[in-house]
Structures are given as structure tokens and as C-alpha cells.
């Protein structure tokens, strides 16, 4: 765990934390591989090319939300508004395109900005209004949920006037059959998230704040500003999710969105990010998101009933966190 960021032993500690991260990633990667093998043995077409692409595509929306929420979790905060912010940003893009006559590129950027703005407001609530993160983001969840319905007039907003819109997610830019753009977008954004996490101050300070906020503040870091930046980043990622979601459906569905935040948080937690903040990794989050989507896909292929699927995902969530705790105890 990184204590502050000014300790003279920092390098040493960084190495230790890196080693731990690697051992953790080895564990969840192991769980992931075992799970895939399990489904593959029972249903060989689980690993067919088409199905792998199906799993990857199903990971996209949740993966993007989970990446965003991970940064907030690193700080020891939580963001339960990501699902509804995602919907709100896609609804606003739809309105911008159909009602305000924005061009397609402008529409997309606008959607991202709406997401980032909602995130910034979350950050403002947490830092300047002293709201606990759960409350600030719950308020945002309700606000965006309501506004999505109000703005859209409780009707889906269709993107049919922009013929290329659906191709953003479901076209294939690489020309490989089945390798959807959405998957490429997820990979690119995951790499960017990894760089932000490991190479920039945002990542460093997110962990430092989560590890010891007071120490970070005392060492001269403008904690409030960084927190607002981190929540905005999370909102921006929700905006990315909104783009993929609405592009896949070629419409913004104002009543969707609730529940997506929990799946995103589950992915981050399965990926080994402690809800107490101060530790975690982006690679872990992505594997966490992959575990969830390949697990639900596998259960569906085995025709396991829907109610049992939910129960099994719950058990896996609990076990993943349990293994992680045991590993930490022993480390």
C-alpha cells in the first residue's frame, strides 16, 4: 500500500506493491482461465470465434463503466451514478443530433462532455459540499435518471438520421468479420486508462488519496481538485459507455441504465480493487469485467435458468473477494 507519496522508502514500497499487484492479477487470471476451461469442456462451442467476440462485445459497456469507477474506487470513494449518467449522456447526444442539428462528430463529443460534466458535479458534491461519495453519486443517479426521462419525453431517441451511427460500435473497422469496433474502442480506452493510472499524476494521487487522504493533503497536493478531476474522468468513461450502448441499439433508451453501476462495481471488486481505496489495478478491472461477461455468457450457453445465473454470479463475486482477502492476509 502506498502511504502518502513522499516517503523516502517510496521506491521500495512501490516495488512491493507492484509485486503484490502481479501476484493478485495472477490469481484472478487463474480463476478466469479455469472458468473458461470449465465452460469449454462442457460446451466446446464456448470458445468458438463467434462466441469469443460475443463475450468481448458484451464486456464493452460494463468494461468502460468499470474502468471509470475504478479510478473513484482507488480514492476510497464510490460512484453509483455511472449507469444513469451513461444513459443521460446518450439521451443528450440523441437530442443534440435530432433536435439541435449537431453534426455526428460534435454529437459524440457532446455526449462525452455531458458525462464528464455529471462526473465533475459529483466531484464538486464530494469535495465542496462535503457529501459522502455514496450520497453525492446517488443524488446524481436520481437526477440523471429523471432528466433522461424528462428530456426524451419518455421515448427512445433514435439515431436513424445518422446512418453511420450504428457502425461506431457494430461496424468493423479492421475488416475482420465479427471483430466489432466496440471491442477496439474498449481496448484503446483500456490502454489509455492504464497509462493514466500508471504514468500520470491522476493515477498516482488517486491511490495516494485512497491510502491516506490527510497525508496527501498535508504534502501539498490539492486533493479537492484532483478528486473533482477523478470523478470527471469517471463521468467521461460513462459517456464512452453511453456511446457504445446507444450505437449498439441505434437509439438512446431513457429507461435503461439503473443496475449497470452495480455490475461495474462488481467488475472492479472482482478485479481486486479494495473499496477502502489505496490499491488496485486497471488490468484487474478489465479481467474482472471479462470474468462477469464470460460467466454470464457461459451460463446462458448451458441454458442455466436466469434466476440461477444471478445467484451464481453472486457466489463468484463473494468468492473472488474472499480469495483476495486471504491472499492479502498471507502476503
Amino acid at each position: 500500500m502506498i502511504k502518502g507519496s513522499i516517503s523516502p522508502k517510496m521506491n521500495n514500497k512501490m516495488n512491493k506493491s507492484l509485486r503484490r499487484d502481479i501476484s493478485h492479477i495472477a490469481i484472478i487470471l487463474g480463476i478466469f482461465v479455469l472458468m473458461i476451461l470449465f465452460f469449454f469442456i462442457l460446451k466446446p462451442n464456448y470458445l468458438s470465434y463467434d462466441n469469443i467476440m460475443t463475450i468481448l462485445l458484451a464486456t464493452c459497456v460494463n468494461g468502460l463503466l468499470a474502468l471509470g469507477v475504478s479510478f473513484v474506487i482507488f480514492t476510497g470513494g464510490i460512484d453509483i451514478s455511472v449507469g444513469c449518467v451513461m444513459t443521460f449522456s446518450s439521451v443528450m447526444s440523441g437530442i443534440a443530433l435530432t433536435k439541435w442539428g449537431f453534426s455526428l462528430p460534435l454529437t459524440i463529443v457532446f455526449g462525452f462532455l455531458v458525462g464528464a460534466f455529471c462526473g465533475a458535479v459529483n466531484g464538486f458534491g464530494v469535495t465542496k459540499m462535503f457529501l459522502p461519495p455514496f450520497i453525492a453519486t446517488m443524488a446524481m443517479q436520481m437526477i440523471t435518471k429523471g432528466l433522461s426521462l424528462v428530456v426524451s419525453g419518455i421515448k427512445p431517441v433514435y439515431f436513424t438520421s445518422a446512418p453511420g451511427y450504428q457502425n461506431i460500435a457494430t461496424g468493423n473497422f479492421l475488416g475482420i468479420q465479427g471483430f466489432y469496433n466496440a471491442i477496439i474502442i474498449l481496448i484503446v480506452i483500456a490502454v489509455i486508462a492504464y497509462i493514466i493510472f500508471s504514468k500520470t499524476l491522476i493515477g498516482r494521487f488517486a491511490l495516494a488519496i485512497g491510502s491516506n487522504e490527510e497525508a496527501t493533503r498535508l504534502s501539498g497536493v490539492k486533493v479537492d481538485n484532483w478528486k473533482i478531476a477523478i470523478y470527471s474522468l469517471c463521468g467521461l468513461f460513462a459517456g464512452f459507455g453511453g456511446l457504445i450502448m446507444s450505437s449498439r441499439l441505434n437509439s438512446a433508451q431513457p429507461q435503461l441504465g439503473a443496475g449497470y453501476e452495480l455490475e461495474a462495481i462488481a467488475a472492479a471488486v472482482i478485479g481486486g480493487n479494495s473499496l477502502n481505496g489505496g490499491e488496485g489495478s486497471i488490468v484487474g478491472t478489465i479481467i474482472g469485467a471479462l470474468i462477469i461477461s464470460s460467466l454470464t455468457n457461459g451460463l446462458r450457453i448451458m441454458s442455466v435458468s436466469t434466476e440461477l445465473q444471478s445467484a451464481i454470479v453472486g457466489v463468484v463475486l463473494a468468492l473472488a473477494v474472499y480469495f483476495d482477502k486471504m491472499r492479502r492476509k498471507n502476503a
Binding site: T54, Y158, S251, S305, E307
Partner: protein, 319 residues
């Protein structure tokens, strides 16, 4: 701190003003009979169509209505709260589409004892209702099954993407379909039934999983708009549109487009506007002491590319 409080007070007063200016509050004080309608959901266009019909009837019969419903069609507790709040406003009648009949029976009994008339619509309210206006979902699903069987020439494999295992009408839409197929079409096999919560994205994933598990499926039947559009996208993404036939339920702009192009072979539509209208009408008749049938079928139709523009279908297909 003072400045902050001032801003806070300002925000609150602007909000109060905005709420106060809503036209709905204008007629809260007059003496029109008040009918409180509480639906199963709110955000879906189906409920907005019901609302439209109910408001038309309210105008025709000169009554005042309110229309509300929980955001999610699973929020039993929220619906119960809405019902309690509505009853506290002394309505002359309550029209309810219960998510869970058991959880409202007691409340409705008390209301009935106070002389409040009770009408069920859509999923209904169980035994407490004096009239029940809804689509006969078992019949509607059987109609879907008949058409699916006709399209398959009585032979093939069917997968079902449902939207809920707890809401009565959703369950009936699956049961009615399965019953009809099992009873009358021995050469058709139902290979899988999965649920996607009526969530478009989830239903798409469910559909793709189902195709992976049973690559030889000939037709997919879906039980509501979310399930149908989800399956439609799932089939598109899997490159199996038209190869695997799709039968839907309800309508939306996306579904209409799919049906028109033949990518959705057809769907069942209810008459939500009529349902809203007939519900308010039944309540008014009860208030006037007239006799009302205990079950009022609000009807359903099969629509496909060939008949969707006909006069008796077109108005029932909403966006």
C-alpha cells in the same frame, strides 16, 4: 456560509416555482370525481400510451385523473407506497396494474370498505377489482404461437426470450405460447427459455447466448418490446437476421421498422390506448352506479408487413 444558504434557498424556491407552475395543479381544487391510476411501470411507451387513452377518457367523461407508476416494473414496494399515497388523497376510484397482487390486497380491501371503487387494468389487482380491463395475455400469446407455427409450417425449433418471471402478464405471455405449441404442434420443439428483464442490451446478449447453445433454432419468440428489439439487435450482430425468424410483442419505432422490412416476421400488439380509455370508462360507470362486466378484453392483434398499415392496426402501433 450565509451566501451558501442564500443560494440554497434560491434553488429551492425556483424549484418550488417550477413545480407550482405545472398546469396539472390548476384543477386540483375543483369538484370533478378523482380517479387515481397506478401502472406497473412508467418509463415505457406502453404506459404512456395507456396514459394517453386514460386522459382522453378523463376529458370525455369530465373526471380528474392522476397517472403514475414505479420506474422499474419490479419495484413492488414503491408501487405500494404510491397506492397508499393516492388513497390518502381520497379518490373516488383507484385503477391499478399490480406488480404483485398479494402485496396490495389488504390495502385495497380497506379502500373498498371506505367506498372507493377499484378497477384493475393490465396485470390487474386480483379479486378486489370490480372490473378488470386488459389484454387476455394467454390468448395473445396463443395468437403469437399460431402465427409462429404457421410461418414454420408446423415444424422446427423455437427459443423464447422473456422479460419477467414474476409479473403475471409476462408469465402468461410465455405460458400461453408454450401451451399452444405443446398442445397443437407436436413437431415444434421449444428448446430454451431465457429472460432478459426487458433490457434491450441484456436481451441481445441472451439471444446470442441462446444461438450459441442451440445453433439450429429456427425462430425466436419475444415477450415484450425490450426483449424483441434486444433479440433483433442480437440477431443482427450474430449475422443471423432472417435466417432465424423473429416474432415479437408490442411495438416501437424500431420494431415497426423491423416488421416493415421483414426482419421481424410479425408481432402481437395490444391496444394500450384503448386499455387506458376503457379503464377510466369502467371506473366512471361504477361511480355512476352502472353495471360493468367483470372482465373487459381490450383486444390484441397480429401484425406483420402485410397488414400494419391497415386502418384497424395502424393506430395501435405506437412509437
Amino acid at each position: 456560509m450565509k451566501k451558501r444558504l442564500l443560494v440554497f434557498a434560491l434553488v429551492i424556491s425556483v424549484m418550488a416555482l417550477a413545480i407550482g407552475c405545472q398546469p396539472a395543479s390548476k384543477d386540483t381544487q375543483d369538484d370533478k370525481p378523482y380517479i387515481a391510476m397506478i401502472a406497473l411501470g412508467y418509463g415505457h411507451q406502453f404506459w404512456q400510451a395507456v396514459r394517453q387513452g386514460a386522459e382522453e377518457a378523463a376529458k370525455d367523461y369530465n373526471v380528474r385523473i392522476t397517472f403514475e407508476g414505479p420506474e422499474e416494473e419490479t419495484m413492488v414496494d414503491k408501487q405500494v407506497d404510491m397506492l397508499k399515497t393516492a388513497l390518502a388523497n381520497n379518490p373516488a376510484a383507484v385503477a391499478l396494474a399490480a406488480i404483485d397482487v398479494e402485496s396490495v390486497t389488504g390495502i385495497l380491501k380497506d379502500a373498498k370498505a371506505k367506498g372507493i371503487r377499484i378497477v384493475g387494468f393490465d396485470s390487474g389487482t386480483g379479486e378486489e377489482a370490480e372490473a378488470h380491463c386488459s389484454t387476455d395475455n394467454l390468448q395473445a400469446a396463443a395468437l403469437a404461437a399460431e402465427n409462429a407455427a404457421r410461418i414454420l409450417n408446423g415444424k422446427g425449433k423455437i427459443g423464447i426470450v422473456g422479460h419477467s418471471q414474476t409479473v403475471i402478464d409476462a408469465v402468461q405471455r410465455v405460458d400461453g405460447f408454450v401451451e399452444k405449441i405443446e398442445k397443437e404442434y407436436p413437431d415444434i420443439e421449444i428448446v430454451d427459455i431465457q429472460y432478459g428483464d426487458g433490457d434491450h442490451l441484456k436481451s441481445a446478449e441472451v439471444t446470442k447466448g441462446m444461438l450459441q447453445a442451440h445453433p439450429d433454432i429456427d425462430l425466436i419468440y419475444t415477450s415484450n418490446e425490450g426483449a424483441c428489439v434486444g433479440a433483433y439487435n442480437g440477431l443482427k450482430e450474430a449475422g443471423k437476421i432472417k435466417e432465424v425468424l423473429l416474432v415479437g410483442f408490442d411495438s416501437s419505432a424500431a420494431m415497426k421498422e423491423g416488421v416493415r422490412s421483414g426482419e421481424i416476421v410479425g408481432a402481437i400488439t395490444q391496444d394500450p390506448v384503448g386499455m387506458g380509455y376503457k379503464t377510466v370508462e369502467a371506473a366512471v360507470k361504477l361511480l355512476n352506479g352502472e353495471k360493468v362486466d367483470s372482465f373487459i378484453d381490450t383486444g390484441c392483434y397480429w401484425y406483420d408487413a402485410s397488414n400494419m398499415d391497415e386502418d384497424h392496426i395502424k393506430p395501435l402501433l405506437y412509437d
